[in-house]
Amino acid sequence: MPDLTTNCAGIVSPNPFWLASAPPTNSGPQIERAFDAGWGGAVWKTLGQPIQNVSSRFGAIKWKGSSGVGFNNIELITDRPLESNFREIYEVKRKYPGHAIIVSLMVETREEWKEIIARSEDAGADGLELNFGCPHGMCERGMGSAVGQEPKINERITGWAKEFAKVPVLVKLTPNVSDILPHGRAAQRGGADGVSLINTIKSIISVDIDRFVPNPGVAGKSTNGGYCGAAVRPIALHMVAALARDAEFNRAISGIGGITNWRDAVEFMLLGATSVQVCTEVMLRGYRIVEDMIEGLGTYMTEHGFQKIDDLVGRAVPAFSEWGDLDLNYETVAKIDPDKCIGCHLCRVACDDGAHQCIHPDPNGSRVPVVDESECVGCNLCQIVCPVDGCISLVPVENGFQAATWNDHVTAGAALRPKKGSH
């Protein structure tokens, strides 16, 4: 078994799987059960001035009978007394000294930051996470994403935290920005040891079409929530990767956003995350999912010859390129395996209506459609809609052209292959 010990920005945990600051980390007894189940770390539900929450708080996207592929919430930070939280942090840390407890914080003034950081460290926090991400409720009071969207404020408050903190400081970033880079860099300038991203995305999850009220309904009204769950993973992966490859940014990343299993976690780590944080899937399925995550990651690392976490962190970052550096002369065409084809013709309608009209019925009448390779642009849509594993593959074509990117073409006049599908 490879060594899963993780050191993310100086916060050490027995594995890279942390619970994100959220309902699963609301209390000490919960986190103790999570650690017993195998979670390596937990980011305590955000502490601040306790608030009052609403009913109801959650909404979910149902897709083909499965609820929660996308999820949103309008719950705020902790509604429990600070004293209870600090006492439980102390107790959990005493019982689980080898696990990481990161305390998420959200207050307003410099004095408040100073006090709450001191109390967190006194309770035994291994690290702090500054919640600059929450996009609902708290931002209306000038906190959460209201901070995360302003690099100068982000930098200043991060600076305060670093001034007062002895343990590592992570800044949790909001995705509700057009470009993540200025915000990661601002945290870095403020002295952050690392960043965690993404927090949730501003959202309306759905609308009750009979009562004319968005969900979740609160006495006939609703408000925007924070969107999370598997559906946000592509956005999170992009933002993590954007920071990971940024020449200016050089701090640790804790990846968050739609992680449901070990494969998702590996994707985040390959794109630069050292630890990963999970909330929604735990809310839907319970702490027990971590057992498979640990086992799956270990097996994956063994199969790839990775001995420690750092061996895989960032391995896919070099391949995350600008469009202008992609090889325009690389050509693929779709091939349908006639032995696997079941004759559903989903590829045909997808190509006809959504792509380049190059998949046709077999003129000889078999159930297997025919790809006109002279017109196929290798777009992948047919492969995506095909319900049969391994039936459609995109096969490279030898076209005699040297590799050439757009940048090669405009700067050095590199020859490009003739276009296909542009009739």
Binding site: K64, G65, I342, G343, C344, H345, L346, R348, V349, P361, R367, P387, V388
Partner: protein, 426 residues
């Protein structure tokens, strides 16, 4: 229809889906393009389309999609041999995964539509033309409904006291009971303007000449005749009954099975299998299907026979009946060519013998019409037109005996042809 019917004891062999079950199954559908299930449906229902509408909670649209192609979609959902039609061609079979339960989904949609009283169709503006329909079974009903949508006047002539045809008198009750067939007749007639004349024999009560005088076109949808019986010693015994006749008695009233400990059903087709299952379901302890050929040679569907065996059916393969006696059926064993072998006579004990070897063809009924008849079957072209202009036909009387869904398709398509023919004459 009397409530006290023998068929009432039967429960649905394939139970109805509830809403969650239906949506779950609907979500499995791949929504194939140019889908094989549509091609396998004689009425060409847009199956992926109606299933998607179940999944999106557009149930009204789902039912409309079904009934647009097949106005008898509620009964077809129950009685179609989907295993050899749409479900049999579902692409999931190719993947080795359970095929979509299309029949059960279609039943769900149409049952909801019936429960909620949704109607979808209106008669077209009156054309002043009139069509006479002979036979109020599935073909005649489908034809009548489509003709009304075109605005033609329609009269159905039915020899029984009620419409529905084999849907009312012949369908195995574990698929559909007669009251449900009556509900469907009501739904078809709800389009309005269909005159129904029951208890009328054609041409005995109304001559072909009178019919032609009264109508601009005729549709012949009279199906098949009575059971074919074997001319064997003892054939007139009370305990030797035609299967179709017995099924009708069981469905419309009561059959007396008191003292019946064993029954033999002669035949190897689907009616034979149905009646075996019905006898078992009504509590006859020993029911034996006796057939000249082997299990693989029988024309009844494999899935139906498999269900019969599950219910306890017995079989006597490669036997030919040679006579009836009080104790049962005398048979000879048969060779591979289904020919009886002399000297192999023995008796299969039976208190009741049901003969399910086919039904007579009714081509002789139309002698007065002077149209082409082949071995008792009315000859039509693909549109349903007979050799006589203005006379069309569909259903078992033309195709020799197929499924309800074939009759519906033929009746509907004949209506389109009749409409075109009437327009051509205006």
């Amino acid at each position: 229809m009397t409530a006290d019917r023998s068929e009432s004891v039967f429960e649905d062999y394939k139970p109805a889906y509830d809403a969650q079950q239906a949506v779950t199954e609907a979500n499995r559908c791949l929504f194939c393009y140019d889908a094989p299930c549509i091609k396998a449906c004689p009425t060409g229902i847009d199956i992926p389309g109606f299933i998607r509408k179940i999944a999106t909670d557009n149930l009204r649209g789902s039912a409309r999609t079904i009934l647009e192609s097949n106005v008898l979609g509620m009964s077809c959902a129950r009685v179609c041999p989907v295993e050899v039609l749409c479900v049999g061609d579902c692409v999931y079979n190719e993947l080795g995964l359970p095929p979509i339960q299309i029949g059960r989904l279609q039943r769900y949609s149409t049952d909801v539509a019936y429960e909620r009283g949704w109607t979808f169709f209106q008669a077209g503006p009156d054309t002043g033309r009139s069509v006479g329909i002979i036979g109020g079974g599935p073909a005649g009903l489908a034809c009548a409904h489509r003709l009304r949508r075109f605005g033609h006047r329609v009269t159905i002539y039915e020899k029984r006291s009620a419409l529905g045809g084999l849907n009312a008198t012949g369908v195995a009750p574990y698929k559909m009971r007669g009251d449900r067939a009556a509900d469907e007749v009501d739904q078809v007639l709800a389009i309005g303007g269909i005159e129904v004349r029951t208890g009328v024999e054609i041409p005995g009560d109304v001559s072909w000449t009178d019919l032609q005088r009264a109508h601009d076109a005729l549709f012949l949808g009279f199906g098949l005749g009575s059971d074919t019986m074997l001319d064997l010693p003892g054939k007139d015994a009370d305990n030797v009954v035609g299967a179709v006749e017995w099924i009708e008695r069981m469905k419309r009233g009561r059959v007396d099975l008191g003292g019946i400990r064993s029954a033999v059903v002669l035949g190897g087709g689907n009616t034979a299998i149905d009646v075996v299952r019905e006898l078992l379901g009504l509590g006859v302890p020993s029911v034996t299907l006796a057939y000249r050929g082997t299990e693989v040679q029988m024309s009844g569907y494999e899935h139906e026979w498999s269900a019969a065996k599950d219910a306890g059916a017995r079989a006597a393969w490669r036997v030919a009946p040679v006579g009836y006696e009080g104790a049962g059926v005398k048979v000879l064993e048969c060779d591979a060519a289904k020919a009886p072998i002399a000297g192999t006579e023995h008796t299969i004990p039976a208190d009741l013998v049901l003969v399910a070897i086919g039904q007579s063809k009714l081509g002789s009924l139309v002698q007065g019409l002077e149209l082409d008849v082949d071995h008792g079957r009315i000859v039509t072209d693909a549109t349903g037109a007979t050799s006589r202009p203005g006379v069309f036909a569909g259903g078992d009387g033309g195709n020799g005996g197929k499924e309800v869904v074939n009759a519906v398709a033929e009746g509907r398509d004949a209506a389109v042809a009749i409409h075109a023919w009437l327009q051509g004459r205006s």
